[in-house]
Each structure stands twice: as C-alpha cells, then as structure tokens.
Amino acid sequence: MRTHFALLLMTAGLAACDGIHDPSLAGNLVPRTVDEDPTLPSIALAGTVFHTEAFGDPSKPVVIMLHGGPGGSYRDMLRLNDRHDGYALTDDHHVIFWDQRGSGLSRRHDCGAYNLEQTDADLVALVEHVSPGRPVILIGHSWGGMYASLYINRHPDKVAGAVLMEPGPLNGAMFDSIIKDLYDLDPFSEWLNDDVWDGQFLTADDHARADYHRMLGVRDSQPKYHQDETDPALSWRLGAVANSCLIDSATKDGKANYDFTDHLAAYTKPVLFVASAKNEVIGVAFQERQKQFFPAAELVTIPDSGHDMQWTHPAESLAAIRSYLSTVAP
C-alpha cells in the first residue's frame, strides 16, 4: 500500500511538471545551432556551416572578428560593434562576426574535424568568400589573437593589419611559461569539485550535454584573469569538442606542440597588441614578450580591466582600435 502511494505521488509529481525533457536535445539546456534552427544567419564553407553576421558596407575594407576559446563564440565581441564616442567600426569597414568551427552556434562535428590545418583552411575559405583578392584586417581576442597569428604566419600577404587583444601563447615555449597559472587547480577548490561532481548528474555523451557541462568552469576556473563576474562576457554556447580536440591536436606528450611565430619576422606591417591591466597571467608583461615576435608591434593597455576587456571596456578598447586602424593602409 505504501509502495503504491509513493508511486502515485511520484507519477503525479512528474505529471505536474512540464513534461520530461531530453538533455541531448538542443533548445533545452543549450541553444540550437545553425543545423537545428534554420533562421539563424549562416554561411556554408569549408565543409561546415558557420553562424555568422555581417555589418556595414560590403564595399569597404573587411574586418574579421576572431573570438576566443577555442570553442567560444562571437557574442562577447559584439560590444566592439557598437558606437562609442561617436565612432563605430562600420563607419569605415565591413565587419564580419562568425562562430568558428564547432563553436558558438556553428555546426558541431566529431573530434577528428578539429586540427590546426583545418582551422587555417576555415579562415582561408572565409577570407576568400568575404574579401576576394583583397587583404583583410583581423581583430582577435584571446585564442582569437592566436588564431590571427597563425593566419598571418602562413598568409602574410592576405592580412592588411591585426589587432591582437590579449592573445594566448603564440608558441609552445610561451605556453609552457604560463601553464601552471592558467587554471586554479587546487584540489579543494569549489569550482573544480563542482566540475567533477557534475558527473553524477550529467555526462558529456553528446554535444548538448558536453557544451552545457563546459560552462561549469567559465566563471571561476581562471581567477588570475580577473574577468567580470557581475557582468560576465556572454557566449551563445560553448563548443566543448572543438575546444578539447583542437587543444589536443596542438599538444604532444602533454606538451604544447605548435608555433605560430616562425615566419612572423617577415610580416612588417603594424600590429596592435591590447592588454588588460589586471590579468596576472597573460597581461601586460606577457604581451610585452609576445609582441617581440612582430617587427612592428605596439602595445596598448586598457586600464582597470581584466581579460574580458572587449566586453567590460568596449569604448576604451575601440578607441585603441580606431587609433590603430587609422594607420593601416586600406
């Protein structure tokens, strides 16, 4: 009798809920990608479908935004597209925002689709599509700054200028110099235990659950980056597989095995580095070292900002970008 009553209560309780959801179905825990929502703006290139938006006059010089991650989204760069102090990037440029392969709201792939060669091929295809025969300007934040360097290193003639906003390590040696400070890995830290305890509830057996789980470390895992907790830099959706598999493809035996700098000495055009004042890991001192890879690089610091400066300090960031762009030949 008691058993029947308990079952009845459980059934009634479940029925009172708005159905039972599928954690693997996009739209429940995470937003739909371009494959699940055809109303999203997208472009099919390089064997995938990218979530993308373009702003401004297509006849003007092209700026391509490169978001962080890998596996982030362009959402946290959109404030750079707003008008600040009477100026907007679209006054003089055609601005392209896109979610990289397997990131944001772009199409998801299995792990084998992510490597540095494919990453390069994606941007080659995008540049050719949005600015055929004409060099572009790249603005990259964090991993996006690394991505820009990778591309310049391989295709210097296709890049008219670049803004590298606190890029991560541009080669393996730079990576090794900061690896211990990248994450708070105190075994007793709350975020780390929450992250692994999550395995009692959700396991990353498909993209939706993997991407949702990936959100767990966003707020607290990198305290030395001093990102804003009250106004967090937003993403559409993280790409967990893109993140882990691209990183894995660039490492060997646990060591970073990439170099985006070996041909940068030949790139003599001006490059702007932007660093945040507060970042203790890849902030001003680190970027002072990184800008040495470029023959003509300058560094601007955004006061009172953390790694998410493009989100928390868009006006100051845009002012630095505007000043730099005035020196870039169209």
Binding site: L29, E190, W197, G199, D205, R237, N243, S244
Partner: protein, 236 residues
C-alpha cells in the same frame, strides 16, 4: 581527454598517490581477523567511513548488516543491506551530496573465489554556477575475488546512471541562455567503472582501499577519469 582534464588529472593524481602510500603503510602494520564489509555474516553489523577522490574530494559514512536471505534458515545466503551518505568536502555544504541504499549478495562462491552483486538506489544533489540539480540514480556493481580471514582483494566493475534529474538553471546561466528549461530530464548521465578493492583487518577495524578508472557510458573521458578512496570500517 581534453586539455583542462589532463591538468586536473595530473594534479589530482598526486592526491591519489598519497592514498596509495598511506594504505601501504597501514598494510605493513599487520592484521587480525578479517571480515570485509562485503562479507558480513548474518547478524554482523558495520559502520563505514570512506574518503578520497570519487567525482570530487568526497567523504562518506555508511552502515551495513548481514541478514539471512530466508529468516531462520542458516543455510541460506547472506544478504547485506547497506546505506551510505556522501558529501563533497572541498567547501562543505549540504547542496552537494549523495545518498544511496541497497544490498549486496554473493552470486557464485566456488572454493576461494566469490562473485557478488551489489545494487543501490540513490539520490544526489548539487549546486554549482550553472544549475541546481537532484538526480535519481542507480548503481550496479559486480565484485569478483577472494575473501580471506585477514584480508580480501576483489576486482570490481560497475555501471551507474542518473535516470531522472531535476535541473534548475542558475541566474548566472540564464544570462547566457534565458530560454534554458528547468524541470525533469531523463537519462542525463551514465558511467562505467572498473577497478580493484582490497583491505586488511586490525581487530574489529578494517581498512579498505578502492581504486579504478571511470568513463562515461559511451566511453567518453571524464574530467576526473579515476577514483581512489580509503575507507575504515568498524564491525560489531
């Protein structure tokens, strides 16, 4: 395993080694009459305490007792009902917990070899930066090995699954995705594990070490791909 997972793994591996060293030292202190949690005789009871790495830095307490499967029939097999409560101890709070209750029984016993099965029903809770969750879970495990007078060693393999999980997305996560749905979710996670468990007895106290590897039910990596716990049981 992803990059972050590897860093986590290396850091936590150091803690696991500490547990291995500790159990080795304990084993060297000698042993008395052995009776594991897994092989309680009818009428025996034990309280258990366990700590280590298992989906986090956890501490558990539990209780088990041996009962005749058929009351009054001393030839019948012994059923061992048990209950266990677990808390994350990194920053102790009552939001991150696990409760499970079940039973273990010997399935096959030939000479020195014993195969036992363990099934538990459980509920687990969590509160993290993106959601608050409550999961209704099952744990199924098989234990094969030998139980001696002073020690035991078994291989274990198991499958645990969150069949139904209530998820309430946090305000922080809703800033990212306002349309995230709160409610019950079916089949949110499952894990397979394989490892070993061994122990020695010192009087009524038994010291037990468990360690093994864990994957998702589709063999995907987890951020913490192993478990290692040290336990102490008091039999009475």
């Amino acid at each position: 395993m992803n990059g972050r997972g590897k860093w986590i793994w290396r850091r936590l591996l150091a803690l696991a080694w500490a547990f291995f060293v500790l159990i080795a030292l304990l084993a060297l202190t000698g042993a008395a009459h052995a009776q594991s949690f897994s092989r309680l005789d009818a009428g025996q009871q034990t309280v258990t305490a366990e700590t280590g790495l298992q989906s986090g830095v956890v501490t558990s307490v539990g209780y088990a007792r041996g009962m005749q499967l058929r009351a009054g029939d001393p030839t019948s097999r012994t059923l061992i009902p048990f209950a266990q409560a677990t808390l994350l101890v990194a920053r102790p709070d009552l939001h991150d917990y696990g409760l499970r209750a079940g039973a273990q029984i010997s399935v096959v016993s030939i000479g020195w070899f014993d195969l036992s099965a363990q099934l538990a029903l459980g509920v687990a809770g969590t509160e993290n930066s993106i959601y608050t969750g409550t999961a209704l879970r099952t744990d199924l495990a098989l234990l094969a090995g030998h139980y001696g007078r002073r020690w035991f060693a078994v291989a274990e393999a198991g499958y645990d699954r969150a069949w139904l999980t209530y998820i309430e997305n946090s305000a922080y996560y809703r800033a990212f995705y306002p349309e995230a749905k709160d409610g019950w979710y079916a089949g949110t996670g499952g894990k397979l594990h394989a490892g070993a468990k061994g122990g020695v007895s010192i009087g009524p106290v038994e010291v037990v070490l468990r360690a093994g590897v864990v994957r998702t039910e589709t063999l995907e990596d987890l951020d913490l791909p192993f478990y290692a716990t040290l336990g102490a049981n008091y039999r009475f």
